[in-house]
C-alpha cells in the first residue's frame, strides 16, 4: 500500500517564514533583513562583474588614483563596509534576537513536556500526568511550554519550523526548547538530524488547542485503556506485540516501542509514515518493513482473521 500524500497535511506546512510564535517571528524578521541586505550586496558585485563584461577588450577605465585608489577601494569596500555591517548583524542577532530562541528559564513556563527520541518515533510525556504517548504533541494555545528533550539511542533533532528553532536530542543530556503557538492549529515538525535508515519518516505533529480541550485530551491520555472485548488483546499478548508495546490497564508493559494505550486517538501511524485508519493499520501490522523499511517492528505471521481482530481492538483504543 502506498503511503501517498502526507496523511495530516490538512493545510499544515512547515514553513520557516510562516511564523506562529514570537521566537519564530524574530527568526523570520532576521531572515528578511539579511535577505534584503544580501540582495543589495549581490547586486553591487553583479554590477562590477557586468561592468567588466561590458568593457571587455577595451582600454582600462580612466581610474583616478590608479592602483593606489583601487587599493583604497578594496580596503573601504572589502574591510570597512563588512566590519560595519557584520558588527550590526552580530549585535542584533547574536546579542538580542538570540534571547528569543534561548532555552526557557526555570519556572517561566506553565507546562513541561518530556520528549525522548527513538529510532524512529517520538515518545512524549507530560510532567504531572501519567503515561506517555507518541508522535503527537498537544499543547495549550498561547501558553509557554518547556520541552525537555533527550534520546534513547542516536542523536535526533526536534524541529517544528513554524514555532521555533530546532534542538538536538543527545544521549545522556537534556536540552530544552520553548514551544509556543499563537493560534490554535496543527503544526508539523520532524527529526532534523540524520538518524539512520528511517530518518525520512520521523514526523512530529504539534496540535495547539484551547486550554479546556487540551486538558480534556490530557486527562484522556492519562487514563488506562478501556476494557477489552473481542479477543484482540489476546492476539496482542500472544503474537509478540506485547514484547515491545505498552497498553496501560493490561498486562502489556514493555516500553521499547510507542505506547499504544490510546493509539486510535492519533492521526498517523509510524511517525507520520501513513494515516491512522483501519486499512493502513492492517497493512502496517501485516508488513511494517514494506511501508517503513528498516523500522524496528518485525513482520508478524498471523492469520487474516487474527489480524482483523487485532485491528478492531487497536482502532478501538481511543
Amino acid at each position: 500500500m502506498s503511503s501517498g500524500t502526507v496523511p495530516v497535511a490538512l493545510g499544515a506546512r512547515q514553513n520557516v517564514l510562516h511564523p506562529h510564535s514570537p521566537a519564530e517571528h524574530s527568526i523570520a524578521t532576521l531572515w528578511w533583513v539579511m535577505f534584503a541586505v544580501s540582495c543589495v550586496g549581490l547586486a553591487f558585485i553583479a554590477l562590477l562583474l557586468l561592468l567588466g563584461w561590458i568593457r571587455r577588450n577595451r582600454e582600462a577605465l580612466p581610474f583616478g588614483g590608479g592602483e593606489r585608489g583601487a587599493t583604497r577601494l578594496v580596503v573601504g569596500l572589502g574591510i570597512a563596509t563588512p566590519i560595519v555591517l557584520l558588527s550590526a548583524l552580530f549585535v542584533w542577532s547574536d546579542v538580542f534576537v538570540i534571547r528569543s530562541t534561548a532555552a526557557p528559564s526555570r519556572g517561566s513556563t506553565a507546562l513541561t513536556v518530556h520528549v525522548v527520541g527513538h529510532q524512529w518515533f517520538w515518545e512524549i510525556g507530560y510532567r504531572g500526568a501519567r503515561g506517555t504517548t507518541a508522535n503527537e504533541l498537544h499543547i495549550p494555545v498561547r501558553t509557554k511550554v518547556n520541552v525537555l528533550a533527550t534520546t534513547a539511542d542516536v542523536i535526533h533533532s526536534l524541529w517544528v519550523p513554524e514555532l521555533n528553532r530546532k534542538i538536538d536530542l543527545i544521549p545522556e543530556r537534556t536540552n530544552s526548547v520553548l514551544l509556543y503557538a499563537d493560534r490554535a492549529g496543527t503544526y508539523l515538525g520532524q527529526c532534523a538530524e540524520f538518524c539512520g535508515l528511517q530518518h525520512a519518516h520521523m514526523e512530529l505533529i504539534v496540535i495547539a488547542q484551547p486550554r479546556p480541550q487540551f486538558e480534556q485530551w490530557l486527562r484522556g491520555q492519562s487514563s488506562d485503556a478501556g476494557a477489552a472485548s473481542g479477543g484482540g488483546l489476546q492476539v496482542f499478548m500472544r503474537d509478540g506485540c506485547a514484547n515491545c508495546h505498552q497498553i496501560r490497564g493490561t498486562a502489556a508493559r514493555s516500553q521499547v516501542g510507542p505506547d499504544l494505550t490510546h493509539v486510535a486517538s492519533r492521526r498517523t501511524l509510524a511517525a507520520g509514515t501513513i494515516p491512522n485508519d483501519r486499512a493502513h493499520m492492517r497493512a502496517w501490522l501485516r508488513d511494517p518493513q514494506d511501508l517503513k523499511p528498516g523500522a524496528k517492528m518485525p513482520q508478524t505471521l498471523m492469520s487474516q482473521r487474527d489480524l482483523g481482530t487485532l485491528v478492531d481492538y487497536l482502532e478501538g483504543l481511543k
Binding site: 501517498g4 500524500t5 497535511a9 506546512r13 512547515q14 514553513n15 520557516v16 517564514l17 521566537a23 519564530e24 527568526i27 539579511m34 549581490l42 558585485i45 562590477l48 562583474l49 567588466g52 563584461w53 571587455r56 577588450n57 582600462a60 577605465l61 583601487a70 587599493t71 578594496v74 569596500l77 572589502g78 574591510i79 563588512p82 557584520l86 548583524l89 552580530f90 542577532s93 547574536d94 538570540i98 530562541t101 539511542d153 542516536v154 542523536i155 519550523p161 521555533n164 528553532r165 530546532k166 534542538i167 538536538d168 543527545i170 544521549p171 545522556e172 508539523l188 520532524q190 527529526c191 532534523a192 538530524e193 540524520f194 538518524c195 539512520g196 535508515l197 530518518h199 525520512a200 523499511p293
Partner: protein, 625 residues
C-alpha cells in the same frame, strides 16, 4: 636515468634530457617521481572519482525528483549520499587541487625542477589511490559508509551500525589523510626552499601563497580527524569508550574533533580556488593583481581564522550561549579576508583590459556563485537563523554554492587555462564558452531552489518525502538542473579530450601569463627549465630579468634558496625514479584490509614490511655524484 656521467660535447638541453629522462611506457608511470607525471596521475584518478561522485549525485537527485520514489532503497540512499560527500571532498577536490594542480604547477611557478621530496610525492599518490579504492571497495561490497560524511556518534557505533560500513569510513579516511599530509608537507617544503633565486617571500605567486595556506591547514587540521577516527575504531573494534556516555565517554567529543578538522576543511577546499582565480584574473585582465600584499595576507588569514569557527556547526546541540557567541563572532571575522579578495579580483578586472575567454568566464561565474554562497554563509553566523535552518536543504544549498560553485568552477576554469601548458595544444574556445553557460545555468537550477525547499522545512539526508509540503516542483527543477549540469561537464571534458589530440599547437605562452610556468615549453620538459631563472618580480614573465640564471646541467639537481629572501643556498641532488613508493602503497592497502577484518597479527606483519620497505627505499638509492 641518474648516475650517468653527463656526456660532454652535447648541447645543454640534450644533456638535461639524458639526465632527467625516465623509463618509457607503463613502467615509467608506475615508478615515476616527476611531479608533472604524478600531477597527471592525480588528475586522471581524481577525475574518475569525480565521475563516481557525479553518478552518486544523479542517483540522489533522481530519487528525490518526486515524492515517494523508489529508485534507491533507504540503505542504498544512505550509502550513496555518504559516498557522494566523501568522494567529492576527499577523493576529488582536495587531491585535485593539491595533488594535481599543486603538484603540476607549483614547482613550475617557483622555478624548481621537482618537488622537494619526489619519492614521498609518488608515495602520496599511491596511498591516495589505495585509500580511494579501499573506500569504494566498501561500497561495491554493499558495505559502504552509510552514516553521512560527518558520521555522528552514536550512530557510528557498533550498536547502531553493526556492519563494516563505519569501519570502511574510519579506516578509509585515516588512509586518505596519510596521503594528504604527505602532499601538504611536500608542498610546504617545496615552496619554502626550492624557489628560484630572487623569488623572495613577497614575490611568490598568489597561487603559491594559497597552496601554502592550504598545506598548513591540512597539516594542522587532519590530526584532529585522525584522532577522532582512531578513537572510533578503538571503540568499534576493541571496546574502548571514548564516545560511550554510559561508561564516562562523551557523545559531543566526536563532533568537536570532527569540526575542528571539518571547518578548516572548508577553507582547504576553497583556498586553492582562490589561488587559481588570482592566477587567471591578471592574465586576462592584462595587469597585475591590485592590492597584492593584502590578497596574500587574506589567503593566509582565511586559513588561520578557519580554525576558530568549528562550533558554528553545533549551534543546535545545546552548547552554552557564551560559547555560541564566540564562534559566531569568529565566523563573521572570516568573512573579511574573503571580501578583500573579491573586491581585489573585481577591481583588477575593471582596471585592466579584460578579455573574457573561457578561463575568465569560469572565474566570473565563480565570483557570482561564491558571493551567493558567502552571503548565505554569513546568515549561519546569525545564531537564531542557524538554529532554524541548520540541517535543512538551505545548508545543502549554501555549501554546494561554496563547494561546487566556488571550488569547482575555478578548477574547471583552471583546466582550460593550463590545458595548453600541459598538453601543448589549445582547447576549442567557442565550445568552452558555451559549456560555461550550460554549466552555470545547470548549477543555478540545481542548487538555488534548495534554499527555498530548505525554508519550506525540507531537512537534509531524507531518502524520500511525502507530497503536500510544496516541495515537489522545486525538487523536480533541481533534478532537471543536475542533468543540465552534467551535460555542461560532459561538454567540457569532450572539448579537452578532443583538443588533446586535435587542438592547434599552443606554443609556450598562448595567454601571455605573468608567472614562470609560461616561460618554459608546452608541455614542459622533464627538467622544467633548461636554466633556472632569476626572479625580480611576482610576475617574472612580465618583468624579465636579463641575468644568466643557474644552468645546473651536471646532474639530477635543483636549487635550494633561503626561506625569506630567496638567496641561492645550495644545489640539491634529487632522487631518481623508484618502484618503492608503489610497493609501499600496496603494502598499506593490505595493512588496512587486515585492520578492517581484525587480523591484527597479519596487520602487524605488514606494518613491519612497510618499515622494511622504507629502509630498502633508502638503501637502494645509488650514490649521487
Amino acid at each position: 636515468m641518474t648516475a650517468v656521467a653527463p656526456p660532454v660535447g652535447r648541447s645543454r638541453t640534450e644533456r638535461l634530457d639524458l639526465i632527467w629522462e625516465e623509463r618509457p611506457g607503463l613502467l615509467g608511470w608506475l615508478t615515476t617521481v616527476d611531479h608533472k607525471r604524478i600531477g597527471l596521475l592525480y588528475f586522471f584518478t581524481t577525475l574518475a572519482f569525480f565521475g563516481a561522485g557525479g553518478i552518486e549525485a544523479l542517483l540522489i537527485r533522481t530519487q528525490l525528483a518526486g515524492p515517494n520514489a523508489t529508485v534507491l532503497s533507504p540503505e542504498a540512499f544512505n550509502e550513496v549520499m555518504t559516498m557522494h560527500g566523501i568522494t567529492m571532498i576527499f577523493l576529488f577536490i582536495i587531491p585535485m587541487t593539491t595533488g594535481a594542480f599543486g603538484n603540476y604547477l607549483l614547482p613550475l611557478m617557483i622555478g624548481a625542477r621537482d618537488m622537494a621530496f619526489p619519492r614521498l610525492n609518488a608515495l602520496s599518490f599511491w596511498l591516495f589511490l589505495g585509500g580511494g579504492l579501499f573506500l569504494y571497495g566498501g561500497l561495491l561490497l554493499g558495505k559502504g559508509p552509510n552514516c553521512g560524511w560527518f558520521c555522528y556518534t552514536p550512530l557510528n557505533t557498533r550498536t547502531y551500525d553493526p556492519g563494516l560500513n563505519a569501519d570502511f569510513y574510519a579506516l578509509g579516511l585515516i588512509f586518505n589523510s596519510v596521503a594528504s599530509t604527505a602532499t601538504a608537507i611536500n608542498l610546504i617544503v617545496t615552496s619554502f626552499k626550492l624557489r628560484a633565486p630572487g623569488m623572495s617571500f613577497n614575490r611568490m605567486p598568489l597561487f603559491v601563497f594559497a597552496m601554502l595556506a592550504v598545506s598548513f591547514s591540512l597539516v594542522f587540521a587532519l590530526p584532529a580527524l585522525t584522532t577522532d577516527l582512531v578513537f572510533l575504531e578503538l571503540q568499534r573494534k576493541l571496546g574502548f569508550h571514548f564516545f560511550d556516555v554510559a561508561h564516562g565517554g562523551d557523545s559531543l567529543l566526536w563532533q568537536h574533533l570532527f569540526w575542528l578538522f571539518g571547518h578548516p576543511e572548508v577553507y582547504i577546499i576553497i583556498l586553492p580556488a582562490m589561488g587559481i582565480a588570482t592566477s587567471i584574473i591578471p592574465t586576462f585582465a592584462k595587469r597585475k593583481m591590485i592590492a597584492f600584499p593584502l590578497v596574500a595576507l587574506a589567503e593566509l588569514l582565511v586559513a588561520f581564522i578557519g580554525f576558530g569557527v568549528w562550533g558554528h556547526h553545533m549551534f543546535a546541540t545545546g552548547l552554552s550561549v557564551s560559547t555560541l557567541v564566540f564562534f559566531a563572532a569568529a565566523s563573521m571575522m572570516v568573512v573579511i579576508p574573503s571580501t578583500i579578495q573579491i573586491y581585489a579580483w573585481l577591481f583588477t578586472v575593471n582596471l585592466g583590459r579584460p578579455e573574457f575567454r573561457a578561463p575568465l568566464l569560469f572565474i566570473g561565474g565563480f565570483i557570482a556563485l561564491f558571493v551567493i554562497g558567502g552571503l548565505s554563509g554569513i546568515m549561519f553566523a546569525a545564531i537564531p537563523f542557524d538554529q532554524a535552518t541548520t540541517d535543512t536543504y538551505f545548508v545543502v544549498a549554501h555549501f554546494h554554492f561554496i563547494i561546487f560553485g566556488a571550488a569547482v568552477f575555478p578548477i574547471l576554469g583552471g583546466m582550460f587555462y593550463w590545458f595548453p601548458k600541459v598538453t601543448g595544444r589549445m582547447y576549442n574556445e567557442r565550445l568552452a564558452q558555451a559549456s560555461f553557460w550550460v554549466t552555470f545555468a545547470g548549477t543555478m537550477l540545481t542548487f538555488f531552489p534548495m534554499h527555498i525547499v530548505g525554508l519550506l522545512g525540507m531537512t537534509r539526508r531524507i531518502y524520500t518525502y511525502h507530497s503536500g509540503f510544496g516541495w515537489d516542483s522545486y525538487n523536480l527543477a533541481e533534478t532537471i538542473g543536475a542533468y543540465v549540469l552534467t551535460l555542461g561537464l560532459l561538454m567540457i571534458f569532450a572539448n579537452l579530450l578532443w583538443s588533446r589530440f586535435r587542438g592547434v599547437l599552443a606554443g609556450p605562452d598562448p595567454f601571455y601569463g605573468g608567472t614562470l610556468e609560461w616561460t618554459t615549453t608546452s608541455p614542459p620538459p622533464p627538467y622544467n627549465f633548461a636554466v633556472i631563472p632569476t626572479v625580480t618580480s611576482p610576475y617574472p614573465n612580465w618583468d624579465r630579468d636579463d641575468s644568466d640564471g643557474l644552468p645546473l646541467d651536471h646532474g639530477h639537481e635543483t636549487q635550494a634558496t633561503t626561506v625569506r629572501d630567496g638567496y641561492f643556498d645550495e644545489v640539491l641532488h634529487m632522487p631518481s625514479e623508484s618502484g618503492w613508493p608503489i610497493v609501499l602503497g600496496a603494502v598499506a592497502v593490505v595493512f588496512f584490509v587486515m585492520l578492517l577484518t581484525t587480523h591484527y597479527i597479519v596487520a602487524g606483519i605488514f606494518a613491519a614490511v612497510a618499515a622494511l620497505t622504507v629502509i630498502a627505499w633508502n638503501v637502494h638509492e645509488p650514490p649521487q655524484e
